[in-house]
């Protein structure tokens, strides 16, 4: 009996052990990286301290983040990652009345959306000078935001012949030019229709230089170069030794159509196009080029030396010029390496005509002669930014991480996971000649599960990383509206905004500063209402006009006090104006019979509710 008992006990033990073994072979509940990241409360405390900006205290950096197809720019403070303000650019924005008054409506034109991609701060000697922010959008336009008042002041375009302006709005080191390039080649001029079978020969990519007035920032058409039908993706201007050149990545060297995810990914290498913009400028000044779509277009075949092609690892996204200007980093997104080119070697290869072929008359440089390194950063490298001490940071979409590596030794020293699927990244002044090297923000495409659920339409995520030490440390998760393609991070003291529009600077012909001057004047069926907004009355408080009149209301906010904004909302008219202190805006509309209340929309004072009136249309 005792034998039986002890035998069954032994079997039971074996059974339990086997079961234990089986259970231990189950998949873990979380991936390795996540389990490693859990715990470490001291790291969390350090991160909390590093990102905490006490109430009333100010952030160290401005972050200007592209709003993608929202058509806007979002302004954040770093390191708190607080969203401070939204600058509407290509989309009406009722919060600031943008796109409702006559001037901004005219600036927007017929388009009420734009797919904002790559904000570019103006530069002097390759460093941010805090004057303007240029942003592109896909419909072939570039806008200038004046950082004196954080307002969109000019929208240029659509520029002829450019189609799908993605590789934009990168600026040259002294803001001589902001550039544009076609992502979707088309037959030019626009309006030409050609069958898709002739894509390789009849469709054209176009690269454009937008001239920037050094004093006013006013943009105008500079020059244009016709290119083979590749898909131009991103760009960066050369700096220091490479000043005078601008680089563009492209995919689809196959000149393929159809299912591009297959047809455009057959070759091992695509191209980076480098354009001698000083030469383009000179040729344009000499009146060279063929008139297409109303602008002079330069053909590289006729101007040797204007454009060269650098072969680069499969389907490159980012091309980023290092702070010294000599290294140019091209990231082939379908590879595990990022390619570093040497500008000196490029110059030598050009001198020696070290070419391996040509594309539509544009010489292709020999890859082996111009490349310095292929850095094994990880899977899906997209975009590179720079820090101090020769470090570079490359975003890895497929790996969902940022790789830190060293220029010169080409050694990958650290990686930090991103949640999730990082696209671009931006480091503090990281695309200038002197990066600050303390903060980096990963601009991620996916955020799932890292925030309170808001249903299927999820925000993107922007993650703040500390790059001061050898090891990178994740500090903070912020959630951004679609879609941060690229951003610029600039030291706060470089930007000096005004807070009211000084009365002396207001040159608006209909501006009035005394309520006694408020008036309603008629000229035929045109009526001009000069209105004043000041705490807490809109004057005139009521006025009568006739059915069918063409009415212009010119409203001046005569306040000179910070943050005393007033609004003018007219019910049933789709009119919503906001005037900042010292500002005059006009809105023109056709009157229809009835009594229409108007009121101040932007809360201003204890008697804000009383700031209302009536427009009577008889």
């Amino acid at each position: 009996m005792s034998w039986i008992r002890s035998r069954s006990a032994a079997w039971a033990t074996i059974g339990v052990l086997a079961l234990a073994l089986f259970v231990s072979r189950c998949a873990p509940s979380a991936p390795k990286e996540a389990r490693k990241a859990a715990g470490g409360t001291s790291d969390i405390a350090v991160a909390a301290q590093k990102t905490y900006v006490a109430p009333g205290d100010l952030d160290e950096y401005y972050l200007f983040s592209s709003g993608g197809h929202s058509g806007q720019i979002y302004v954040f403070g770093v390191p708190s990652m607080r969203h401070i303000s939204t600058i509407p650019v290509f989309t009406p924005y009722p919060a600031t009345g943008y796109g409702f008054d006559d001037d901004s409506k005219k600036m927007l034109g017929n388009l009420t959306w734009g797919d904002v991609h790559h904000p570019a701060l103006s530069e002097t000697n390759g460093d941010y000078d805090g004057r303007w922010l240029f942003v592109n959008e896909m419909n072939g336009r570039v806008a200038r935001i004046d950082l004196r008042d954080f307002k969109t002041r000019q929208i240029l375009g659509p520029i002829p012949n450019v189609s799908g302006n993605h590789a934009s709005a990168f600026v040259t080191p002294n803001s001589e030019y902001s550039v544009m390039a076609s992502r979707f080649s088309i037959p030019i001029p626009k309006g030409t229709a050609v069958e898709i079978a002739k894509y390789a020969t009849d469709f054209k990519g176009v690269i454009t230089g937008i001239k920037i007035d050094p004093k006013s920032g006013e943009m105008s058409f500079g020059w244009q170069v016709v290119m083979p039908p590749f898909n131009y993706d991103l760009g960066d201007a050369g700096k220091k030794v490479s000043d005078g050149w601008v680089f563009f990545t492209s995919y689809n060297a196959e000149r393929a159509t159809g299912k591009l995810e297959v047809t455009s990914t057959q070759r091992d290498r695509d191209y980076i196009a480098m354009v001698d913009w000083k030469m383009a400028e000179k040729l344009a000044a000499e009146g060279k080029g063929t008139l297409i779509g109303g602008v002079k277009v330069l053909n590289p075949k006729e101007h040797p030396g204007l454009v060269y092609l650098l072969p680069c690892g499969k389907s490159p996204h980012g091309v980023d010029v290092a702070p010294d200007g000599n290294w140019i980093v091209g990231s082939g997104k379908l590879q595990g390496v990022t390619t570093v080119f040497n500008f000196e070697k490029i110059q030598t290869a050009i001198r020696n005509k070290d070419f391996t072929g040509e594309e539509d008359g544009i010489p292709v440089l020999k890859y082996e002669s111009i490349k310095d390194a292929e850095v094994p950063v990880g899977l899906g490298p997209l975009h590179t930014q720079f820090g101090t001490d020769g470090y570079a940071y490359t975003s890895l979409f497929v790996d969902s991480a940022v790789a830190k590596w060293k220029l010169g030794t080409w050694e990958v020293v650290d990686k930090v996971p991103m949640s999730y699927s990082i696209g671009h990244l931006t480091s503090a002044e990281g695309d200038t000649v002197s990066p600050d090297g303390n903060y980096l923000v990963g601009l991620n495409k996916l955020s799932h599960g890292r925030h309170l659920s808001v249903g299927p339409s999820q925000p993107e995520s922007s993650q703040l990383v500390d790059i001061t030490d050898e090891k990178m440390k994740l500090l903070y998760d912020a959630f951004t509206e679609p879609e941060p393609h690229y951003a610029q991070m600039v030291k706060a003291d470089k930007i000096k905004p005004i807070e009211v529009y000084p009365k002396e600077e207001n040159t608006h012909p209909h501006a009035i500063w005394d309520v006694k001057d408020a008036s309603v004047t008629r000229n035929g069926n045109k009526v001009l209402v000069k209105m004043i907004a000041v705490r807490s009355t809109l004057t005139p408080t009521d006025f009568e006009i006739k059915d069918g009149d063409e009415v212009t209301i010119a409203i001046t906010n005569i306040e000179q006090t910070t943050d005393e904004l007033h609004g003018l909302g007219i019910l049933d008219y789709n009119i919503n104006i906001v005037v900042d202190p010292g500002e005059t805006k006009t809105v023109t509309f056709k009157a229809k019979r009835g009594v229409f209340p108007f009121y101040c929309t932007n809360f201003c004072s204890a008697l804000h509710q009383e700031m209302q009136g009536y427009m009577i249309v008889r």
């Binding site: 000041v534 807490s536 306040e559 204890a606 008697l607 009383e610």
Partner: protein, 212 residues
């Protein structure tokens, strides 16, 4: 009795010493400050105005802080309680005050040159009278502004007296009212006259023969 008056008259007729004349001259020079510096300052803080709203009162003008903007802001706020706008034209003081100080200064100079104890006493009395009147005028102005509130005002408040000197809480505002350089110069000027008079008086009494 006769003797006392005779002695007094004799004292008042005595000439001033060099030191006393210099003191009177100094008192006259100090009056120049009234044309350069503010007399008084009002500063108001509220939660919405952490940097404060400032008002400097000169003998001939009002100057708001923040490049003049603070006067507009104070007026905008005060219109809700029906207070009149602070405008330079409403202050008759700005017309007579600089003139009166000039006249006073000339009289000081005259007293220094003519140099009698009686003359010095005259200007001291004038000085005290003038200072007291100016101060009353300022206070009365404040009283009028705080009490003549439009009956149609959006916000009804009880008539109030803004502080003349020191701090006071008025609704959501902490109000501070203090004299400035020009007022201190005026006070110092008066002090110099008093010192000069005291010294001159003692000298006069010492030089006169003892009353019988």
């Amino acid at each position: 009795m006769q003797a006392i008056f005779a002695r007094l008259n004799q004292s008042l007729a005595r000439p001033l010493g060099a030191a006393q004349r210099l003191l009177v001259l100094g008192a006259a020079l100090l009056l120049v400050a009234v044309y350069i510096f503010p007399l008084w300052n009002l500063t108001m803080f509220a939660p919405q105005y952490p940097e404060g709203l400032r008002l400097d009162i000169y003998s001939y003008k009002l100057v708001g802080g923040n490049a003049g903007q603070d006067v507009h802001e104070i007026n905008i706020l005060n219109h809700y309680i029906g207070m009149r706008d602070l405008v330079t034209d409403d202050f008759t003081e700005f017309k007579w005050l600089p003139f009166a100080v000039g006249a006073l200064g000339l009289l000081y100079l005259r007293a220094a040159v003519m140099g009698t104890v009686g003359g010095l006493l005259d200007v001291l009395v004038l000085n005290v009278y003038f200072s007291a009147f100016a101060l009353w005028s300022f206070g009365y102005k404040m009283y009028v502004y705080g009490h003549n509130l439009a009956p149609t005002a959006a916000v009804r408040v009880d008539p109030f007296m803004p502080p003349l000197f020191g701090a006071k809480q008025l609704a959501n505002f902490e109000v501070y009212s203090y004299p400035q350089a020009a007022a201190y110069a005026m006070a110092l000027s008066s002090l110099l006259l008093v010192v000069a008079l005291a010294a001159a008086w003692r000298r006069a009494r010492a030089e006169l023969p003892e009353a019988a």
